[in-house]
Amino acid sequence: MARKLKSRLTTALALATGPVLFLAACGGGDDDSGAAANEGPVTIEFWGWVPGLEEAVAQWNEENPDVQVEFFRMTGDDGDKIPAAIDAGTAPDVVQMSVHSIPGHIVNNRLTELTDIAGDWEDRFTPSSWGSVVFDGALYAIPQDSGPTGLMYRTDIFAQHGVEVPTTWTEFVEAGRALKAADPALTIAQFSPNETGFWIQSVWQNGGSWNGIDGDAWTVNVADEHSLEVAEVWQTLLDEELVTTVEMWTPEYWAAINAGTIATVNYAAWFPVLLEESAGATAGNWAVAPSPTFDGEESAGDTGGSVNVIPAGTEHVEQAAAFVEWLNTSDEGLEHLINGGIFPSAVAGLEHEALMVEEPFFGGQVINEVFADAALQVPATWVDGPTFELTQNALKDEFAQVANGRKTFAQALADLESRTVADLTGMGLSVSE
């Protein structure tokens, strides 16, 4: 370390002597790129955030002396550094990222296309998770975890007021009315402008997708009939004050959950752990049912999960892919992921014994049975566009206006649609009507 610092200090000092040396130093490049690839063990760098990845990496390293993985834990804003790191050539070889940010990276040529290496892994993953990593026939990422939805509900509250657990969205609204009539302080759910996942999952469940590919152009379907159906349900819930407006993840939200004034959370498979941690006092009063459906046919939504990508310019693509394959599809890899608290995208993971455990917080229910069924029911329709992060960001602003009564959901979606089209054309991309 000291020597490395010293040599870098020299480089920095060389800068001082003038612009000529400065340019020379720039052209020098990184020192460890010179080592021959086939000599000795290869070291690949992996950035991820799932708890317990350290143990997974340790096991891999023990079993694979030739491919040593170095793991860095990402927190918070770390994902924001990935573009700069890839562009500067200092990116790791494997990165965990949100599935929603893939297309934005593809149009900037930041990802290695994996069609030739992993194109035939399709059967190993749930259809919906595979559907969102393939763009125009090309594979760019390997699914890691997903967020299939289930309806977490307060058994005590439903029993106390004699209300049936809803199975369709129409019943959901009815149940909301019944609960409100029984106790005016009670709402069946909450509306959170800051959590776009609630919307994505419902539109996805309804067979929609906000972006798509039509030949050589992107499509934008933010305000199509799939979304408008969701909007109708939520407009009713909001207008009749069957939901309370509270931002998700905030202390206020958890206080409301703890106080028992919110009866259900229709959300992703990775949410129960958080519920347990932040609302310990309500233990034993929860259960999970399948999400309400739109037309009575079994289907579930998904909030979108994370994937593993191999950044462009990586030297050891094959070794990196081998590690990614092991982590996300092998029995050992999946066990580490599941123990880390995530819900795997691999089909083998859905049946994994580590997943099927009784949860005391949910009264001893094996809740992942519900989520595993849901994972296979999620329609394989959803595709993200290159400006999806902007769309998500704008959605928060639009929904804040809905919460303040300045717009309806339908108006907000229409405005979001035009903003998304403008963002795409602003990047120089084609958008088909």
Binding site: T11, W47, F72, W254, L274, S278
Partner: protein, 281 residues
Amino acid sequence: MTGPSRRARLLGWLFMIAVGLYFLAPVYWLIVASTKSTSDLFSTPGFWFADFNLWQNLVDLSQRDGGIFWRWMLNSVIYSGLGSVLMTFISVISGYALAMYEFRGRRIVLAAVIGSMLVPQTVLAQPTYTLLVEIGLSNTMLGVLLPSLVYPFGVMLGFVYARSSVPPELLEAARMDGASEWRAFFSIALKLLSPGSVTILLFAFIGSWNNFMLPLLVLSDPRLQPVTVGLSGWSQAAITIPGLQTLVIVGALVSIVPIVVVFVSLQRYWRSGLAAGGLKL
């Protein structure tokens, strides 16, 4: 000498009590919250204690990710400690040069110092990162330390203090005695400038302790991060990782301690020091 009137004292006290409440209430909340479990945090009154969980929280804080929190604290102390001493030295020597000499380019440097205080951090962040990558300093401690040494505000202060507390006649006399410029600075000026330096040191220390944007961008290895970046990362990850919320709160409380220590230990120096500096006017 007659003191202030009784009415003035009373008003002063009322004002100070209001001020104390305003500035300390959130800190008090932080202390109370540090003693709570995640569940109690969201379900018990904010200004009063629930089950006393502080020790457990501190243990959790120390054990999370192999005790990385203490590593962050150490990093912060290194960045701010070493950084602020270097920043202060550079500021004082530069301010001294600008104040005591007439030379070609002096006005340009002065204008650049003032102008650079107006540059938004956001302009600099991305290009600075690219630059550090090119010279091989990304993801190193030096990569955080070197850019933070550019401290125009410190140079400004150094300039102001040198002008007000180093009499040119004294330097002239030293030169007559055959002292070199170098010696004149180190043996005469530096002593006179030491009270002002303490102020610069305090600002530099706290400034670099709160430094956020640059380390966030430059460091990918969490083991090199300062505590501000680490804690804010945790606070964002708290959304999806159970139990982090309380650790962020306890961590925030612990991370204030060094600043308080530095402030209190410099407070005496800096008050009497500045007063002494003022007498020389």
